[in-house]
Symmetry: C3
Subunit: 305 residues, 3 copies
């Protein structure tokens, strides 16, 4: 299926039609993967360029490429020798475009993905540009909600933790805004609540949301999206001490409820391991959906699905 | 062939039947490799997770996977970004289980392999957990002895160097203990002799062994297994000075003898390079056997051999 | 086609027949790559050993291997754990020869490539040994000139920048010396002019060359080969200040001329980005030629082309 873009740098590029198509192809890709080996991207080469290490995201993209029969060349972290010789991102990407068929890049600087996409001679995917965008995380979260709940229209979701700085909850809110009648509950300390740029977008879309400091207020949703809350975000450490345990999810919170627990991972202690064995716990399945969603994106951007 | 285990974390899991099966399949794998390309593991993906770098072991596993037509995703050393965000081994392995079909892990902490195997959703192989186990090294040593000497029952082996701390000689002794009438000669300074945990095991198995400080006492065996002896192991440096040259093997020691020289590599100077050209020198063939033994293990644990 | 060598460590090994054969096979490889997937090197494994990081060169070789259906195992930079345990290059290469079918190595020490080639049991390619050789860069430059200009005999080339220390311009001069009636213009500050070892070689071959400090003197050639000039090479910084802007190429210099602009990359500022859009700008196509030239070398050394 065709997407409305050639390079993926931001969730803001996606229309509902794009998101629906990615969902559909992701489910097909799940079957492809489970049926054994595929040759859909045989002969295609992916450059996996991680200026900043992100083992999880990198491995997910590389597994996706291999699952479709493609090949991968990788550069990560301090291995970027040319960067240290003063080369611009634009030159690196123009060079890599000569080597491969598709490029995935993570870079610590916001805006670097747009610079790269502007000159790339092959499809380009942003795998995170610092505090900027990380669109495939939002997309895999959408695939997860859709698979776990059977729909996206009409669902209710609670987002917990650091909603001010959390890139993943912003992206996910944006993508859910493409659907109908989604209800949001934002659970966070006042100092870390959802920023105006997100709430004004939801207002514009006519979405309902409520704001609270109490985790308990959010346990009646279809989805509970946990994120990590970091001590260093608090100016007043006594506020941190007061709140920190409020946002640690335990089995008792969810075991008798029809609520799907998600987390972008890695977790530290914000979800107790006693939740892992519950059917509610979707965070490892979420990692699994990352692979099929990336298979879908790689194949679609290469014109092979 | 079936193995008695799903995850390989320790040589202590192996029965004689397991070891015999691995030997048999390793020889088949040698033919597979020499005949060109194989598609036995086509479509399968290996995660090669080296929290601690070990270029040799990593490349051997990855070559084995490629030789069978499979794919590899790699993370090594400081690339483990999620580790630095406080993620547990258990979470990393549960995540990786969503991405791949089989996992190989090296980790600096003893016991980490058992933790990983406990939660892994796919077959798991320990590639060394600190001072703990490194079972595939022992297995490839067994394959080497079997290929070089035509048998394992009844062979005589001399082990030289740091027998107290040497993980490889302990594993190999254990595996040889599964066979019949193996005779051991342990050549080491008193302070670095084979520990009681190994000798008591051999006693239990009814194996004969002798203990000496002189390399010359061990040159009548079928196999001479050299290891490095490290200066820092000696409390008394004068004892080191006295002994260090005793354990440097030279061509003159073995050139007219029917003795197979092995070494786990890397060597520093404990085997003179003039030994390399002798037919006795099996240590580079040993590296070769590492690939076929790992091909066998990957294929068997994936149910494809 | 057969080459006159089994291991490639220096441009000095190449005869004109070798170079012609590589050119011919490179053009075939371009077609192979553009036609989609190839299985020419299916089942073959490359060890890509970069003791010193060089992302560009490494990715180019790895892309070349994947384009031919082969597999790659990689070690780069600090990942070389065995090096730190005191292993010699010779032992590492003998070990790697047991794992793979062909080896590419970059190493910071001059002479390391010769040491490696001497013991390698499989074809070996030097990807740069410190201030020593980097033969595949020279070869891809030759492929580029041949493709851009339609011939190598009779061409005129201007080389600009640090000609004293520049490894690439030395290799390229040597290879051009295998052809007929090549004319050279060397543009550099006196302190960084082409060394006698190159000019005496050209004298021997009966090649014409002229020496100048002015970029403008070199704009009538078929090829303009730019390199970076480094401040730290100048004893007298006032000379650097005087010259530095003389060697920054801008669109105005070349836009109305039939001159091909090359650069080994990465560039810093010695070619203005306004040159990039001109048809003269061949430096990204040069990167592309690096892949097809390396495909040719891998296939030829493995006896498959």
């Amino acid at each position: 299926m065709a997407l409305s873009f050639q390079h993926l740098t931001s969730t803001k590029q996606l229309t509902r039609e794009d998101m629906d198509a990615i969902l559909k192809v992701s489910l097909e890709m799940e079957k492809v993967r489970d049926s054994g080996s595929s040759e859909l991207l045989k002969g295609k080469v992916l450059a996996s360029l991680f200026y900043e290490p992100s083992t999880r995201t990198r491995m997910s993209f590389e597994a996706a490429m291999h699952r479709l029969g493609g090949s991968v060349i990788t550069a990560e972290g301090i291995q970027f020798s040319s960067m240290y010789k003063g080369e611009t991102i634009e030159d690196t990407i123009q060079m890599a475009s000569q080597y491969v068929d598709i490029i995935v890049m993570r870079h610590p600087e916001q805006g670097s993905a747009d610079k790269a996409a502007q000159v790339s001679g092959v499809p380009f995917i942003n795998a995170g540009d610092g505090p900027g965008q990380h669109p495939t995380q939002g997309i895999l979260d959408m695939v997860t909600i859709s698979k776990e709940r059977g729909t996206l229209d009409g669902i209710s979701i609670t987002m917990v933790g650091d909603l001010l700085y959390g890139r993943t909850v912003h992206s996910l809110s944006f993508l859910l805004g493409l659907y109908k009648d989604v209800t949001f509950t934002f659970v966070a300390p006042d100092a870390l609540q959802m920023p105006e740029k997100v709430t004004s977008y939801l207002d514009e879309k006519g979405m309902k949301y409520s704001v609270t400091q109490e985790l308990e207020d959010g346990l009646n949703s279809d989805v509970l999206y946990m994120t990590r809350i970091q001590k260093e975000r608090f100016a007043d450490s006594s506020q941190y001490e007061k709140l920190k345990d409020s946002y640690i999810l335990e089995a008792a919170h969810v075991k008798d409820r029809d609520i799907t627990v998600m987390h972008p991972l890695p977790r530290v202690n914000e979800i107790s391991t006693d939740v892992d064995a519950l059917p509610n716990a979707a965070y490892f399945r979420q990692a699994n959906n990352g692979v099929i969603a990336r298979m879908a994106l790689l194949a679609m951007l290469l014109g092979e699905a």
